[in-house]
Symmetry: C2
Subunit: 336 residues, 2 copies
């Protein structure tokens, strides 16, 4: 590998001069500068990021922790982050932590050792590693939390109004004559799972809807569990007239159960999903669903992190709450 030393020798100047020239700093005559740049290109010079990183304490790398990159929601968020970060020449280190706090810890340590400039994190479900995040922040690590919040970690965050959106959706069903509403909710101990379920419960209570324990089951945000729980709900003789699924996998599981039982949607059962996916437009009936602004979430998180990194002194911590929105399609029937 060719280094600035090689270039220096080849051009007949010092490494200091080469460094200045290549970094477009002042203190080099135009002629020498051009010579150096020319020669560098000719020799195929590429800066050694490790050495530079050591020297300037900056790596142009950020770590991203999510629970599952296969979840289309996270894919879309990550894709948006990538767009923003690439524009500033940063790389992303993607870490899939499942819901495994141990893996979360290990990845965090790996990322710290690699001296990432910042972290964008959807913390593992139960927030067991709260103290680690607090510690990182205290040591100056720039962190942006998204999707899931952890209390008392003093850093930027981007989430949606989970509670309100589920509340509204439940009301939407009531307004269409539904009184018996079930739901496939997620991981109760996770931020999103908790918030969405609470939005649902609040709505049930405040809007005087029937609450039926059998109709409200956790699918743990997983397709398989959601499928099984949906079967349980739909096998009863006393069924709800509508079910809300609280993320994309839950929606999928519910749909599988519905198909298997040959239940007609929306005639025999209305369905509202959560998250968007291309297929929800395309299947029959198309799925009415709550769409998270995944792209905006990713862009916002990345932008906040960049600001925290590059304007360390003037950056002020922000807690951004974005709105999710209901898209009406064909899976809800009005009973009125």
């Amino acid at each position: 590998m060719v280094s600035i030393k090689d270039i220096a020798k080849s051009v007949g100047v010092s490494t200091a001069t080469v460094s200045k020239a290549l970094n477009h700093k002042s203190g080099v005559s135009q002629t020498v500068r051009n010579q150096i740049i020319e020669k560098a290109k000719e020799m195929g010079y590429v800066v050694n990021g490790l050495a530079r990183g050591m020297k300037i304490s900056k790596t142009f790398t950020v770590g991203v922790l999510v629970s599952d990159i296969k979840n289309p929601f996270f894919s879309e968020v990550i894709s948006a982050m990538e767009r923003v970060l690439y524009a500033k020449k940063y790389n992303l280190m993607i870490c899939n932590v499942g819901e495994n706090p141990q893996k979360e810890v290990e990845y965090l340590e790996l990322l710290v050792s690699k001296k990432v400039d910042g972290l964008i994190v959807a913390p593992a479900a139960e927030g067991q590693n709260l103290s680690i995040y607090r510690n990182l922040v205290r040591h100056g690590m720039k962190i942006v939390l998204f999707d899931r919040l952890i209390d008392s970690v003093n850093c930027d965050s981007v989430v949606i109004d989970n509670r309100a959106s589920i509340y509204e959706v439940t009301k939407y069903l009531k307004d269409r004559g539904h009184k018996k509403i079930g739901s496939i909710y997620g991981i109760e101990k996770s931020y999103t799972g908790h918030e969405r379920l609470n939005g649902f419960k609040e709505a049930i209570e405040e809007l005087n809807l029937e609450y039926h324990k059998e109709w409200v089951r956790s699918g743990f945000f997983r397709e398989e569990d959601s499928y099984k729980q949906s079967l349980e709900i739909l096998a009863k003789s006393s069924k709800p007239t509508a079910i809300i699924a609280m993320n994309n996998f839950s929606t999928l599981g519910l749909m599988r159960a519905v198909k298997e039982l040959e239940i007609k949607v929306p005639d025999d059962l209305s369905i509202i999903g959560f998250d968007d996916a291309e297929w929800m437009k395309v299947c029959s009936p198309s799925i009415t669903t709550v769409i998270q602004p995944a792209d905006a979430i990713g862009m916002t998180a990345a932008t906040l992190l960049l600001d925290a990194i590059e304007n360390e002194n003037i950056h002020t911590i922000q807690h951004v709450v974005l709105k999710a929105k209901l898209i009406e399609r064909e899976s809800v029937k009005s009973l009125i």
Copy 2:
């Protein structure tokens, strides 16, 4: 940040001893070793990967280049890679290059400067950067190509038997009485696009099926284009009885057109998709499709790369071809 120097001072030994102890190397007494490890933990020491990387010329980081992380196929492949690489404590740098060769070049340079230990790449569509890859290999960079091949780059690769699988699928339709078969193919200049289309053309010819130019259109592996082209095909008075879509987005676009035109599948039109997605099981009718072994592709690619990196001397280059397989569901009708 605490360094081995701090630990050395604190324990009262030299940095050399600390380094040996922390890296589980011989030459340190058990007592001193324990003291050091203890103290390191106490002080919250984390190794500086940049310094280490510089010294040992290894970063435990690999770069992954794909065209679109939002494509569920790539998400699944990446997820499998992550599993394999995490087990050996490697990190992934994910680079979304779209089909933009310029971005591909820039990311490549970024990754080289960051001294990644290897690269796993699905090259941008038209393979314009062939010479760059060749150069990298020549300079000792470990590369595994997947999904798309580039000729004359001397490195490991993992692909599926695109041509054969489309051929078989076409035959499958013929065996069920279909003689008028259309297709929404992909990017003709890309490896996968080209191979799949050729498999189709070969089948049409060899099996004496009707070839109708109007029925064979490129959707560029994109949903929107595939949708439009599907509309074109289906608007004609003389329609095919079956259409093969050649990736997941093409399938989606085709489905959208079908839904919009209220065409009954499979009664009025049979459909075979490509790639799998959870929804294809769930929608009505469920979609008969060619499934790529995405998980195996990712695992194989990562395993090959690890072998190339860790057993540099004895590693032999392999070109793995995996089989795609047709999953029969409900979207094909037998006309016989």
